[in-house]
C-alpha cells in the first residue's frame, strides 16, 4: 500500500492493552472534531466525533476526550486488537469552515 506518512510518530501497544493517541489542534475557534482511521491503501474511515460543548464521548471500544483549555484531543482504544493497526488522525473544524487534518499517528499492535 501507499505510505500515508513516512515519518509519522508511532505508538506500539501490546494486543489487549489500551491505546491512547493524542492530537494537538491549532485553532481555538474549532468547535467540531473527528477522529479517522486509515489502513494502508484505503481511504480514511470515520471513527468518532465530538463537539466543543462536550468533554468526552464514547463509542464502541473508543472514547474521545477534548480539553479545550490546552487545545488537546485524545482517542482511547480499549483492548487494542491487531485490526486496530492503522494511521489515526484528527480533524478540526472552526464553525462552518473547512476541516484541517493532522498528519496522524501510526498505531502498531504487537502480538
Amino acid at each position: 500500500g501507499e505510505s500515508v506518512g513516512l515519518h509519522l510518530p508511532t505508538l506500539s501497544v501490546q494486543e489487549g492493552d489500551n491505546s491512547i493517541i493524542n492530537c494537538a489542534y491549532s485553532n481555538s475557534a474549532s468547535d467540531y472534531f473527528i477522529w479517522y482511521k486509515q489502513e494502508s491503501g484505503k481511504g480514511p474511515q470515520f471513527i468518532i466525533d465530538i463537539r466543543s460543548n462536550m468533554d468526552k464521548r464514547q463509542g464502541q471500544r473508543v472514547t474521545v476526550l477534548l480539553n479545550k483549555t490546552v487545545k488537546h484531543l485524545s482517542l482511547q482504544i480499549a483492548a487494542t486488537q491487531p485490526g486496530d493497526s492503522a494511521v489515526y488522525f484528527c480533524a478540526e473544524s472552526p464553525y462552518g469552515q473547512n476541516f484541517v487534518f493532522g498528519p496522524g499517528t501510526r498505531l502498531s499492535v504487537l502480538p
Binding site: 473527528i34 473544524s93 469552515q97 476541516f99
Partner: protein
Amino acid sequence: DAGITQSPRHKVTETGTPVTLRCHQTENHRYMYWYRQDPGHGLRLIHYSYGVKDTDKGEVSDGYSVSRSKTEDFLLTLESATSSQTSVYFCAIGGLAGSEYQETQYFGPGTRLLVL
C-alpha cells in the same frame, strides 16, 4: 466507503497531459471535496463544492479545476499534470441535502496518481 466511488483507482500519466478524476456518490450529500494526501502532510483540501455548479478553492488549488454538474458527481481536472501532482487523491462527502453545515465528512477509497 459510505456510497462513494472514485475512478480511476490508479493512473500513470506523463507530464503535460490533462487528467480527470471522478468522484461519484449515492448518498445525496450536499458537499463534496477533493483532497490530496502526501507523506508528511495531513490531508490538504484542493477544491470543494457546496452544491451543483457551486465550487470554491481550497488550500492547494493551483493547477487544479473542478466541476459539479450533478449532485452525485464531482470531477477533478489537472489541466497539465506535473510531477509535483503525484499523490493520492481522496474525494469526500458531507452535509446532507438541506443542511447548512458541512458536518461529518466521509471519504472515498482514493485514486493513486503517478505523473512521470
